[in-house]
Amino acid sequence: MALRNTLLRHLRVPVTGFNQSQIGFLGSICAFSSHDDHLSKQDVVDRVLDVIKSFPKVDPAKVTPEVHFQKDLGLDSLDTVEIVMAIEEEFKLEIPDKEADKIDSCPLAIEYVFNHPMSS
């Protein structure tokens, strides 16, 4: 038993630190774990802004992460409903009707999507 342990201690390879600089050409590491697939905040912001910019009634130059749909972009309440549906389709979410009614502006939408556990 003790012999086995000493043998293993002798044979075990010490783990060296893994520097980011060593894989510089690869970009980001793609670790295939299923537990860290939650979106990053920047990702969510980029995708939500893309959805809003591709809406035909919206002027893409005015879209920032802080816009209010009705006050800043001059949209209708029905247009807000359409934008929320487009965000639902983009992130494969199902938002209950009462919650969807409250999403009125861009920061609210980003917060909701980011905090939802099932957004992908």
Binding site: L78, E94, D97
Partner: protein, 117 residues
């Protein structure tokens, strides 16, 4: 009486606006259920939007109530029998499929081999 805008009037109008928004949302989802191909869906969605826009300037509260009731009856008539629901949502196929185990349960990783670790 019709010229006085009290808080009750505004509350009633706000409730009506919320009903209209929820009705539009459900009707749009239903349109997507029926018209799966996008070019057909866009055409049907703009028709739906025209129907809603045609009545947007009505001021009489009772008439608005009647229009909303009529709209909800239309929605009930046209509901899809097999709507698309996101899998993990209630009604979807993955709902409650793998619930989180109760607290205190853990996995024993060396079962049967506790004698020789």
């Amino acid at each position: 009486m019709s010229g006085v805008s009290t808080a009750a009037y505004f509350a009633r109008r706000a409730a009506q606006k919320e009903r209209v928004r929820i009705l539009y949302r459900r009707a749009l989802k239903d349109t997507l259920n029926w018209a799966v191909h996008r070019h057909i869906f866009y055409r049907d969605a703009s028709d739906l939007r025209e129907k809603f826009n045609a009545n947007q300037d009505v001021e009489d509260v009772d008439r608005i109530d009647k229009l909303i009731a009529h709209g909800e009856a239309e929605y009930d008539k046209w509901r899809h029998p097999d709507p698309y629901i996101v899998p993990w949502a209630p009604g979807g196929s993955k709902f409650c499929r793998n619930p989180t185990p109760p607290a205190g349960i853990e996995i024993v990783y060396n079962y049967g081999q506790e004698d020789n670790p």
